[in-house]
């Protein structure tokens, strides 16, 4: 894309970031954070990183935005917005120092990457061994599978943390408020119209992910959005947090991933794949992960249990 476009985009990104951090109004900050996520997705697109752009738009802007708005709503209901004051100077100074240090480390790491196009060539040379067309999937589930495994475990751990905030009298109950909508209303119609389409897009994203942009995280987010829409339109209710099938779905992805890693370890290489079966193993892991990520994200947004029926 043209230089003028990239420069304008950079200016917008810096502007949105500044407004998100410096804003006095918390809700305004959340909105600018979402705008920032959308702009960053455009930047990744401009760099030709379609996979990252998809993930950033879906998770960075979408899911995180919804979570932040939910947190804002919770703070408002608890009356915590009125007496929230800007943190004292020492806190801000330490935060700025920490951010500067992290930024400096990231810049150093990027500059230290070998060659002009980083590890692109190395990945392209080795990618054939996994029989995958998409270099990003090859890195995420092959060469750096360890990182991805930990990421999925972090998601499950986060959900466990959210659930542990449930009050005792509704322990193991149903998360989120009960949504009712008029059967012929706008919300219910939309809840019937969009899910089939979202399902198609989600399945396509994970199916295409092996050879084209897409993958478990992007597909999982779309599927989570489909479920949230169905719940919002009152067509189905959230499951009980204590439901055994639900918990099985949530740990299915990480369990399959860990199983594959252990099997590799027994065969001599942890998280390694047997020659000739790498693609099959990676596809099975991707599909299992998609279902688990979808369920985990949807339930993270639903929050802790709030009622018994």
């Amino acid at each position: 894309m043209s230089l003028a476009f990239d420069l304008a985009l950079c200016a917008f990104i810096l502007g949105a970031a500044a407004l998100a951090v410096a804003g006095r109004n918390l809700f305004g900050s959340v909105v600018f954070y979402i705008v920032y996520g959308v702009l960053i997705a455009l930047a990744w697109l401009s760099l030709g990183a379609v996979d990252v752009a998809l993930a950033e738009a879906a998770i960075g802007a979408g899911v995180t935005g919804v979570l932040l708005i939910g947190a804002w709503q919770g703070m408002k209901e608890a009356g915590a917005l009125e007496d929230s004051q800007a943190p004292p100077w020492p806190v801000r100074l330490w935060a700025a120092l920490g951010a500067a240090l992290t930024g400096g480390l990231v810049i150093t790491a990027i500059i230290a990457l070998p060659g002009q196009d980083g590890l692109t060539r190395t990945v392209a040379d080795e990618q054939g061994a996994l029989a995958l067309g998409n270099p990003v999937t090859a890195v995420l589930l092959g060469f750096r599978a360890y990182d991805t495994l930990l990421e999925t475990l972090v998601l499950s751990a986060a959900l466990a943390a959210v659930w542990s905030l449930s009050p005792e009298r509704v322990w193991g109950g149903i998360p989120g408020p009960k949504h009712v909508s008029r059967p012929d209303g706008v919300m219910a119609s939309f809840g019937r119209l969009l899910p089939p389409l979202g399902l198609l897009v989600g399945v396509y994203l994970v199916w295409a992910g092996a050879d084209q942009p897409g993958g478990a995280f992007q597909a999982g987010t779309v599927l989570a959005a489909v479920w949230i829409l169905i719940v919002l339109s009152g067509l189905r209710d959230e499951p009980r947090v204590s439901s055994l099938p639900l918990r099985a779905v949530i740990i299915a992805g990480p369990a399959v991933f860990l199983g594959a890693g252990l099997a590799g370890a027994l065969a001599g290489q942890a998280l390694g794949y047997p020659p000739g079966y790498a693609r099959t193993a990676i596809l099975i892991i991707e599909y299992a992960l998609t279902v688990s990520i979808a369920a985990t994200l949807a339930l993270l947004i639903a929050g802790p249990a709030r009622r018994l029926s």
Binding site: V186, M187, F190, L193, L194, L197
Partner: protein
């Protein structure tokens, strides 16, 4: 500039005009419902013109079809969001 390029430029300009009109409405209009009207109607028209321009620019029926589908989905989403926001905005002062 070829006639085709001229047409694409004109369509883009029209699209930008409607986006600008929608944004002016969002800033200038006094209440939520008028603002919604500006945002969801003018902007969708603007998106339609830009989608038309992009489709002509690519000159590929497959891509143009995908763009048209995206526009249709944006229309559905904007229409629904407008209805929901409008109803939520009614709650503090019920008029019906």
């Amino acid at each position: 500039m070829s006639p085709g390029e001229l047409l694409i430029t004109a369509l883009l300009a029209l699209g930008v005009f409607f986006y600008a009109a929608g944004t002016v409405g969002l800033i200038r209009f006094p209440d939520t419902h008028s603002r919604l009207h500006a945002l969801t109607k003018a902007d969708n028209l603007g998106l339609g013109f830009i989608v038309l321009a992009a489709g002509l620019h690519w000159g590929d029926a497959w891509i143009a079809g995908k763009l048209a589908l995206i526009w249709l989905l944006a229309l559905f989403a904007a229409g629904m969001a407008a209805q929901l926001v409008a109803r939520a905005a009614l709650k503090p002062e019920p008029r019906e």
